[in-house]
């Protein structure tokens, strides 16, 4: 049973289409728990920033530590097929890259108030998701655009409760996106 060139072309097209869908679904499944975790952290952190601004520095630091540890655990479990926890150095280097980038950025142009501080990280995250989505799948692009747009709307049009806006809509969008990706 030899194949014709047309049949061979069609088979290659089927392969490429299935590979693309599988790669996309794998990326969504891998990212979902991170988005849910950080969405909940945003909700808690921004809520504290709004209701108890004096505590926000310490609370955000504690939440960043919790989020980092949680991310290491999730990443390790994914590498271990959900059974064993193994340390993945790429996660550590991803964090290190982010820390170095923001340290350099703030050294050059530090935010002058908490409002700018509260907007710059979500804008960076939103942009990162758009870039990630260009390579992996549209759901990341949509989530990134939504997070960036909500951040800008809140920054420019919400006067008193920007942090609460970010807790509900920023954190909520991140969490909802995680659940959406998990169902993909």
């Amino acid at each position: 049973m030899a194949l014709s060139p047309d049949q061979a072309q069609e088979a290659l097209r089927d392969i490429a289409a299935t590979e693309r869908r599988s790669f996309e679904a794998y990326g969504y499944k891998a990212a979902a728990p991170f988005l849910i975790l950080w969405g909940l952290i945003w909700i808690a952190g921004y809520a504290v920033s709004d209701f108890a601004p004096l505590l926000s520095g310490k609370v955000w630091l504690a939440l960043a530590v919790i989020g980092s540890l949680g991310s290491f655990i999730i990443g390790g479990r994914q590498k271990g097929g959900g059974k064993t926890v193994r340390f993945d150095w790429r996660i550590a280097f991803t964090w290190l890259t982010g820390i170095v980038f923001f340290t350099a950025l703030f050294a050059i142009m530090a935010p002058v108030d908490g409002r700018q501080m509260g907007a710059i990280f979500p804008l960076f995250i939103g942009t990162s998701y758009v870039v990630l989505g260009i390579w992996i799948g549209m759901r990341f692009v949509l989530a990134g655009l939504l997070i960036a747009a909500l951040t800008l709307i809140g920054f420019y049009y919400v006067d008193q409760h920007f942090a609460l806006w970010m807790a509900v809509l920023g954190g909520g969008t991140l969490t909802a996106t995680g659940l959406w990706l998990r169902s993909a």
């Binding site: 049973m1 030899a2 194949l3 014709s4 060139p5 061979a8 072309q9 088979a11 290659l12 089927d14 392969i15 299935t18 590979e19 869908r21 599988s22 790669f23 679904a25 794998y26 499944k29 097929g81 959900g82």
Partner: protein
């Protein structure tokens, strides 16, 4: 390869192999996720997985995720090679047909 690998050549099995091929080595996919990607019934998918498992192209693991039974699979080494050979075979046909 003058003839296609008939195990892989079947359309549903070709989709299963394609879906598994892009996973990182050692990574497994759950039956329900694979079903969504391949878009066939449980029974149909199970039968094709059985054929691929018998030929040594996929490795199947059955365990429990909490209390829920879970079936996961991945490409074996020989499955990865057979799939690469099949893709080369297809590309050779196309190349040979071009002037």
């Amino acid at each position: 390869m003058e003839q296609p690998d008939t195990i892989i050549h079947q359309p549903v099995r070709l989709k299963i192999m394609s879906a598994l091929k892009v996973l990182p080595p050692g990574e497994m996919i759950e039956f329900v996720r694979l079903r969504a990607l391949v878009q066939v019934t449980d029974g149909n998918l199970g039968a094709h997985i059985g054929t691929l498992e018998e030929s040594g192209y996929v490795e199947v693991e059955k365990d429990f995720d909490g209390k829920k039974p879970r079936t996961r699979l991945r490409l074996s080494k020989s499955g990865r090679k057979a799939f690469a050979d099949y893709v080369s075979y297809l590309k050779d046909i196309i190349e040979a047909s071009q002037p």
